[in-house]
């Protein structure tokens, strides 16, 4: 892959970032209404009061300076103080992101792996019983709402069988003597959320992969490879899977890149203290700084995911590299 291609994509990504962040800045300033009156009608009614408030919020400066300050705070992840927790949003998010990553980085790759493998197996047995079983069952599971599926699993393994704890990330109030004990407790709490999460997402990967494989199977170069004397397994490994992975790679990278923004229903249901849960709670609490920060991070994640997709796609498909 050429250096030029990467630089090209990098510039494009930076441009996207600047554009979206600036749009965020502009949108609110274009909205009708006076922010100072919203802060306090009494203070803003007197000229001195207005001046104090303007100074306090930096609104006395020219727009271009305000923009500079805003950009600086965005780039340094300085999002102000949470209304609810009264702590800096940046510190608050750090922990939650870590927790979401623990959950997501276990569950999402697992789900993707199951989906892709299942898709390969189903397509290799296209039209046979194994294919029908795999495809139908994954479609049914995919159609089931995540929260319902998670609740069923929770009921069976957490309540009836009592094998796993029913909520949170660690045993509340527990202190761990060793790292191993901590990990053991964490792992114990993780099993069902990770499983539910993986089961919830694997279906779409399976269906995409299967369809994409079946398309590739009918390509002329696959027939040529067969004519060359390749047996079925090497044929699938060398000529079908790499080409079938192209369309699915986009959604794989995207899912991995946005893992840290959390999984709403799973985190809420299992009281997993991650970003998803925090966001849902912040909405109900009208905790604006947190919501804004979360939205900003999601936007950054999507832009980053796009950049990664371009790079990986260029690596997978030589036809893209020149672009």
């Amino acid at each position: 892959m050429s250096f030029r291609y990467i630089v090209n994509r990098l510039f494009y990504t930076l441009f996207m970032f600047l554009f979206i962040v600036s749009l965020n800045f502009m949108l609110f300033r274009l909205m009708p209404g006076d922010p100072l009156t919203m802060v306090s009608k009494e203070i803003s009614s007197s000229p001195e009061g207005r001046a104090t408030l303007e100074r306090m919020y930096g609104l006395d400066k020219p727009l271009i300076h305000q923009y500079g300050d805003y950009m600086k705070s965005m780039v340094t992840f300085d999002f102000g103080t949470s209304f609810h927790y009264k702590t800096p949003v940046r510190d608050l998010l750090g922990d939650k992101i870590a927790n979401s990553l623990i959950l997501g980085m276990a569950a999402v790759p697992l789900g993707i792996a199951i989906g892709i493998l299942g898709g390969i197996i189903a397509s290799a047995r296209h039209g046979k019983t194994a294919d029908m079983l795999i495809t139908t069952s994954s479609m049914v599971i995919y159609a089931v709402p995540t929260f319902w599926l998670a609740m069923i699993l929770l009921m069976i393994f957490g309540v009836r069988l009592g094998w796993v704890p029913i909520n949170s990330m660690l045993t509340p109030g527990a202190s761990f003597a060793t790292k191993a004990a901590y990990l053991k407790d964490l792992f114990h709490h993780m099993i069902i959320p990770v499983l539910s999460y993986a089961i919830a997402i694997f279906g779409s990967y399976l269906l995409i992969m299967r369809g994409s494989m079946i398309d590739v199977f009918s390509e002329d170069y696959v027939l040529t490879a067969r004519a060359k004397g390749l047996k079925e397994k090497p044929l699938i490994r060398k000529h079908v899977v790499p080409n079938a992975l192209l369309p699915i790679s986009t959604s794989v990278i995207y899912s991995l890149a946005i893992v840290f923004t959390g999984a709403f229903s799973i985190e809420v249901l299992f009281s997993w203290p991650g970003m998803g849960k925090l966001m849902v709670e912040s909405v109900t609490r009208r905790d604006y700084p947190v919501m804004q920060a979360a939205n900003y991070l999601i936007a950054v994640a999507v832009i980053l995911a796009n950049f990664l997709m371009d790079i990986v796609y260029g690596w997978l498909d030589p036809r893209v590299r020149l672009g």
Binding site: Y221, L223, K238, R319
Partner: protein, 328 residues
């Protein structure tokens, strides 16, 4: 000299569909000698490609060889196991496919694709294989500096040359060309055909050329077999068959080609469609569209006429009325 390389003996390849069996190839027999080239001509759906795919056993899963034998160097290969087959494919018989533009995998370098059968069939190192790829590139007159390119960086003609190089990789005894020049413009087509002719002479390979284009046959083939509705209706030396055709279908096919030296007129066409191969008619399969039948019962009712060398010149024809060539 005339050592038989490939012999098809009453080959029957049927496709099983929900309502029954489609008799795509229904009793095809021919022999191909070492170093010889045979053209298989006919309109779409007459069983040309199915015949070729039967030989290297790459039929779609609905297709099945239901009868007859395929002898390669005297050995019946009709019931080979998968292991025997993967040794046989490309090493003995390689194939240049229809729609060759897509016969190269877009995400693999051309040299790797040409080297693939070498590494698969011959015990060589990657380096030796690459040396061989280089030789092959020179053989098909491609710039060896382009070896490491990807298919999308090649023009249509270059891709076709690369595919020919790939087909030659393991010194096959037989090359099957399934409309190898269909997607190319006429200039490139002529170049590719010249190349194929030249290489075939140089390497003493046999070739089975599948096409609907009679001009390609007269350029490249020693013998020609005309297929209609799953059967060979006429077969013989190319010159003899094209200039002295006996079967009404062959005649129609030839007159459907414009002659640039003759007076300009509308080319001929054959009214009607080929018969449904699910329930082929009892008599001659061409009878419904034949301009010679004129109500003759023998064509409609009796069995399909057998392919017989009536003249004793190695010119086979399957027609009850072959003696009446001037009726047209």
């Amino acid at each position: 000299m005339s050592e038989v390389l490939l012999e098809l003996d009453n080959l029957k390849t049927y496709f099983t569909v929900t309502k029954g069996k489609v008799k795509a190839v229904d009793g095809v027999s021919f022999t191909l000698n070492r170093g010889e080239s045979l053209g298989l001509v006919g309109e779409s759906g007459c069983g040309k490609t199915t015949t070729a795919l039967s030989i290297i056993k790459l039929l779609p899963k609905e297709g099945q060889i239901e009868g007859g034998r395929i002898l390669f160097e005297g050995k019946d290969i009709t019931h080979q196991t998968e292991d025997e087959l993967s040794d046989f494919r490309w090493k003995q018989v390689s194939m240049i496919f229809q729609g060759a533009m897509n016969a190269l995998n877009p995400v693999k370098r051309v040299c790797d694709q040409v080297a693939e059968p070498i590494l698969l069939h011959e015990y060589t190192t990657k380096k030796q294989a690459m040396e061989r790829v280089k030789e092959l590139f020179e053989l098909v007159e491609l710039d060896t500096n382009l070896m490491y390119s990807y298919p999308h960086e090649f023009s249509g003609g270059m891709r076709q040359r690369a595919i020919i190089a790939m087909a030659l990789a393991c010194h096959p005894k037989l090359i099957i060309g399934d409309e190898p020049t269909t997607a190319l413009d006429v200039m490139v087509q002529a170049q590719i055909l010249d190349l194929i002719n030249e290489l075939r002479g140089k390497l003493n390979m046999s070739m089975l050329m599948i096409t609907h284009d009679l001009s390609i046959i007269s350029d490249t083939c020693d013998k020609v077999a005309i297929m209609y509705a799953g059967r060979i209706v006429e077969m013989g030396e190319t010159k003899e068959v094209l200039s002295n055709s006996l079967h009404p279908y062959t005649k129609k096919l030839i007159s459907a080609f414009p002659n640039i030296y003759a007076e300009r007129k509308m080319v001929d066409s054959i009214p009607g469609d080929p018969p449904d191969l699910y329930t082929p008619p009892p008599g001659c399969r061409f009878a419904k569209r034949c301009h010679m039948v004129g109500g003759k019962e023998v064509c409609q009712v009796e069995i399909h006429p057998p392919l017989i060398d009536y003249t004793g010149k190695g010119h086979y024809v399957a027609c009850h009325l072959w003696r009446n060539p001037d009726e047209y």
